[in-house]
C-alpha cells in the first residue's frame, strides 16, 4: 500500500536518487577533477579569453558531460554585446 501511495503522490523513488547521485560521483571518480579545480580552471579561462575578446564573466558555465565512457569538458561562454553608439 505504501508504494501504491508513493506512486500516486509522485514522490521521488530511492532508485532514481541513487542513479542521479552516482552520475555525479562517477564523473569525479573518472576524471579526478574536484569542484575546486573546476573553479580555478574557470577563472583562468575567463582571464585568458578576456585578453582577446570581450566576454561576460558572470555568464561563463563550465560543466563535465559524459557520453558512454567518454568525458567531455563543456564551456559555455557568452560574448559581451558591443554597444555600437559609445564605442563608435
Amino acid at each position: 500500500m505504501a508504494d501504491w501511495l508513493s506512486k500516486i503522490t509522485g514522490r521521488t523513488s530511492s532508485a532514481h536518487e541513487a542513479k542521479e547521485r552516482l552520475k555525479l560521483v562517477l564523473i569525479h571518480d573518472r576524471t579526478d577533477i574536484n569542484p575546486d579545480t573546476m573553479e580555478k580552471l574557470k577563472d583562468d579561462l575567463i582571464k585568458t579569453i578576456s585578453r582577446h575578446i570581450l566576454i561576460d564573466p558572470a555568464s561563463v558555465k563550465i560543466t563535465m558531460m559524459h557520453e558512454g565512457r567518454e568525458q567531455r569538458l563543456v564551456a559555455d561562454i557568452q560574448l559581451k554585446q558591443h554597444d555600437r553608439k559609445s564605442s563608435g
Binding site: D3, T9, K19, V25, L26
Partner: protein
C-alpha cells in the same frame, strides 16, 4: 585447442564473484567443455567450498608457482564432471606470493589442455586483482544494483581499459524485481546507463544460491532455480549463442497499472 581465459572481478567484495565463477565453470562443463577454474584469492580461499571440493585439496596455486608440484597435481577433479578442474588458492600465504607474470606463465601452460580457464579474482584493486587480470583474454565484472557496488565496478572498468584489457562485460547480480517495481532498486537500464559497458548476464536474487552453496553444489545444477537459469544463459552466451536476457519484470496487476497512469497524469 587454445583456451579462452576469463577473469571474474568486481572491486567490491560480496557481490557474487565466487558464485559466478563456480556457476559459469560448472555450466560450461555441463555443455561438454573442458574447464579449469583458478581461485586467485590467496589467503581467503573460497571457490573450493562453493564447488564442494574442499576435502580433496593437496597442492595449491602457490605450490605450483614455487615449483613444489606440477600443475596437474594441483588440479582437483570435480566430483560431477571429469573435464572440470579447480586449482585452489593457498590459504596460509598472502597475495605477494604470486606475481602477474607468474599468473601469465601458469595460464600459458594450461592453454593447450582445456577450452576455458576461469579465474576468480579477489576484491579490491591491489596485487591480487592485478594477478587475476594479467592473463585474461576477457574480463567479466560482477556488480549488484546498489550505489557502492556500481561505483566500484566503474573504477574496475576504468582500470581494465587503462591496462588495455577492456572493454569488459557486465553481470548484474542479485536483482530484486519487487524492489525495482516499488522504485527502491536501480534496474538494468539504469546501471548500464551509468557504466556504459556491454551486458553479459542478468541474475535475479534467489534463495537457491545460498542453499546450493551450503551443499557444495552450484545453483546451475538446480533446474528450478532462476539464478541457475541465468548462469546457464551466460555460459551459452560465452559459447557464442544469442540468448535473450531473462525477463525479470513483475507482471503488474490492475491496481498498479492504474496508479501508474494516475502518477504520469500528475507529473
Amino acid at each position: 585447442m587454445a583456451a579462452k581465459t576469463i577473469t571474474i572481478t568486481s572491486g567490491k567484495g560480496g557481490v557474487g564473484k565466487t558464485t559466478a565463477t563456480a556457476n559459469l565453470a560448472v555450466a560450461l562443463a555441463n555443455l561438454g567443455q573442458k574447464v579449469v577454474c583458478i581461485d586467485s584469492d590467496i589467503g581467503l580461499r573460497n571457490l573450493d567450498v562453493v564447488l564442494g571440493l574442499e576435502n580433496r585439496i593437496v597442492y595449491d596455486l602457490v605450490d605450483v608457482i614455487e615449483g613444489r608440484c606440477r600443475i596437474k597435481q594441483a588440479m582437483i577433479r570435480d566430483k560431477r564432471f571429469v573435464e572440470l578442474h579447480l586449482i585452489p588458492a593457498a590459504q596460509t600465504r598472502d597475495k605477494n606470493a604470486v606475481s602477474p607474470s607468474d599468473m601469465v606463465k601458469l595460464v600459458d601452460e594450461l592453454r593447450d589442455e582445456v577450452d576455458w580457464i576461469i579465474i576468480d579474482s579477489p576484491a579490491g584493486i591491489e596485487r591480487g586483482f592485478r594477478n587475476a587480470i594479467a592473463p585474461a583474454d576477457e574480463i567479466i565484472i560482477v556488480t549488484n544494483p546498489d550505489v557502492s557496488a556500481v561505483r566500484d565496478a566503474d573504477r574496475i572498468i576504468g582500470i581494465i581499459e587503462a591496462e588495455q584489457k577492456g572493454p569488459g562485460k557486465l553481470i548484474l547480480n542479485r536483482i530484486n524485481p519487487h524492489m525495482i517495481q516499488r522504485g527502491d532498486m536501480m534496474d538494468a537500464s539504469d546501471v548500464l546507463d551509468l557504466l556504459a559497458v556491454k551486458l553479459v548476464g542478468l541474475v535475479p536474487e534467489d534463495e537457491h544460491v545460498i542453499a546450493s552453496s551450503n551443499i557444495g553444489k552450484p545453483v546451475v545444477l538446480d533446474e528450478k532455480s532462476k539464478a541457475g537459469q541465468a548462469f546457464r544463459n551466460i555460459a551459452r552466451r560465452l559459447m557464442g549463442d544469442e540468448i535473450p536476457f531473462m525477463d525479470l519484470e513483475i507482471k503488474e496487476d490492475l491496481l498498479h497499472r492504474l496508479s501508474k497512469v494516475f502518477k504520469s497524469g500528475v507529473n
